[in-house]
Amino acid sequence: MTGESLIIFFITALVLVGGAILFSTFVSPSTFNVQKAEPYECGIPTKGVTWLQFNVGYYLFAILFLVFDVETVFLFPWAVVMKQVGMVGMIEILIFFVILISGLAYAWKKHALVWE
């Protein structure tokens, strides 16, 4: 099978979820109730909007992730041909690692890794 046949897995998943939800909408009871459509919050009416401001820490970790994930992607091709490129590639990747680790050390020093 070639890469294009992945579409069959996509379609199978769609059929599984779509079919089950469709079946469920037809057979399940449907009653209207104002209380039922309220968001769950331990039985008390919710206060204010849901989409409020949240901790900036989540953004910081997402940005850090972006930097390191892209660098991980660069490591994969090197890992495959590691045995062929030998010592030269090893030294080059060492330089790459020094830059990578100094980035992590900088983030560490700046307390970007501390959750507040």
Partner: protein, 362 residues
């Protein structure tokens, strides 16, 4: 080779040729697609239902309870009964919820786990897609699931869901780094990303034995990081029951809730399969050096049994983690990843590269 009797590629080729002989190429391909779809759908459902049952029994065992034992012998039909019950439950829509995103989210979670299942080698010749970038593909596809989780939490119009989704997003993306880096250690050792070739290279010894210390460290890090990535065990902050009721899927009901539940267990299965394939030799039997008799005896156990056995052991380990360790706080969770696992992992990659260059591995 004794285990070539279990080579299933001849069987799949036979299906292919006999289908092409009987009908036009388009309908032959179509029939094959339908066959693959039905087989994977059945496999997906059976594994998912069985894992839910296994989890409940193991949880009960850890807590000195009996667990489900009424429906069917030993309660094995309990999850099927639950599934039928959930299928007939009402699908509730929350006021002011973003309806489109709310409906799309379960699709994304299931599609991500289904696509990852495509590349897993279940046995010799029993692999739907044998990519040359196999490991990379699995890592890439399984990370789509986080989008579904974020959408589910964001669109639900509930504060519990929102906080659960944000936590889970931060957690999954952080631990993805460690999963990727610990797999790079094995890619360095194997020199390929193709999963079938990686399994083939472990014919004489699994990578966890032949890879010296770095492979062992990589395996431990992979187990920790993947447990966190599938939102399980001591890392289940996203659905911390005591704080957030059910986290990102608080507002989901009926069969949609069941899909989030199913996806969690299937992700666990995929992670365990990858660990078994990459570190424990996939469907390769256990071989010990020059013990000829022992090696031959092991060869007669079918590869599929080997594969399922190894996966089951790792799944059992992951389940034990959940019922053994107390839950971490979010700052502890992120400290563990960024201050311990990531530096150790970077060092480990270099160590493995050095060992492979020097030729010190077995």
């Amino acid at each position: 080779m004794p285990f070539d009797i279990y080579d299933l590629s001849t069987f799949t080729h036979w299906i292919d040729t006999s289908l092409r002989a009987g009908m036009s190429p388009f309908w032959a391909v179509f029939t094959e697609f339908v066959l693959v779809g039905v087989v994977f759908l059945a496999f997906y459902a059976v594994v998912g239902l069985f894992l839910v049952y296994a989890e409940r029994r193991i949880c009960a065992f850890m807590q000195c309870r009996l667990g489900p034992n009424r429906v069917g012998p030993g309660g094995i039909f309990q999850t099927i009964a639950d599934l039928i019950k959930l299928l007939f439950k009402e699908l509730i829509y929350i006021k002011n919820a973003d309806k489109i995103l709310f409906n799309i989210a379960p699709f994304i979670v299931i599609i991500a786990s289904f696509l990852a299942l495509a590349a897993i080698p279940f046995g010799k010749g029993l692999q739907a897609m044998d990519f040359n970038i196999g490991i990379f593909y699995v890592v890439a596809v399984s990370s789509i699931g986080v989008i579904g989780i974020l959408l589910a939490g964001w669109s639900s119009n509930s504060k519990y869901s929102l906080i659960g989704a944000l936590r889970s997003g931060a957690q999954i993306i952080s631990y993805e780094l460690s999963v990727g880096l610990s797999l790079i250690v094995i890619v360095i050792l194997a020199g390929t990303m193709q999963l079938s070739e990686i399994v083939e290279m472990q014919r004489d010894g699994w990578f966890i034995f032949t890879g010296h210390l770095p492979a062992v460290i990589a395996f431990i890090i992979f187990m920790i990081a993947s447990t966190a990535e599938i939102n399980r065990g001591p890392f289940d902050l996203a659905e911390a029951e005591s704080e957030l009721t059910a986290g990102f899927h608080t507002e989901y009901s009926g069969i949609k809730f069941a899909f989030f539940f199913l996806a969690e267990y299937m992700n666990m299965f995929i992670v365990a399969s990858i660990a078994a394939t990459v570190f424990w030799g996939g469907w390769m039997p256990l071989h010990i050096g020059s013990w000829e008799g022992f090696n031959h005896a092991m060869d007669f156990i079918p590869p599929f049994i080997w594969y399922l056995g190894k996966t089951a052991v790792i799944i059992y380990l992951i389940m034990l983690f959940k019922w053994t360790f107390p839950r971490l706080r979010i700052d502890q969770l992120l400290t563990l990843e960024w201050k311990y696992l990531l530096p150790v992992n970077l060092f480990n990659v270099l160590l493995m590269a050095f060992i492979v260059l020097k030729g010190w591995h077995f």
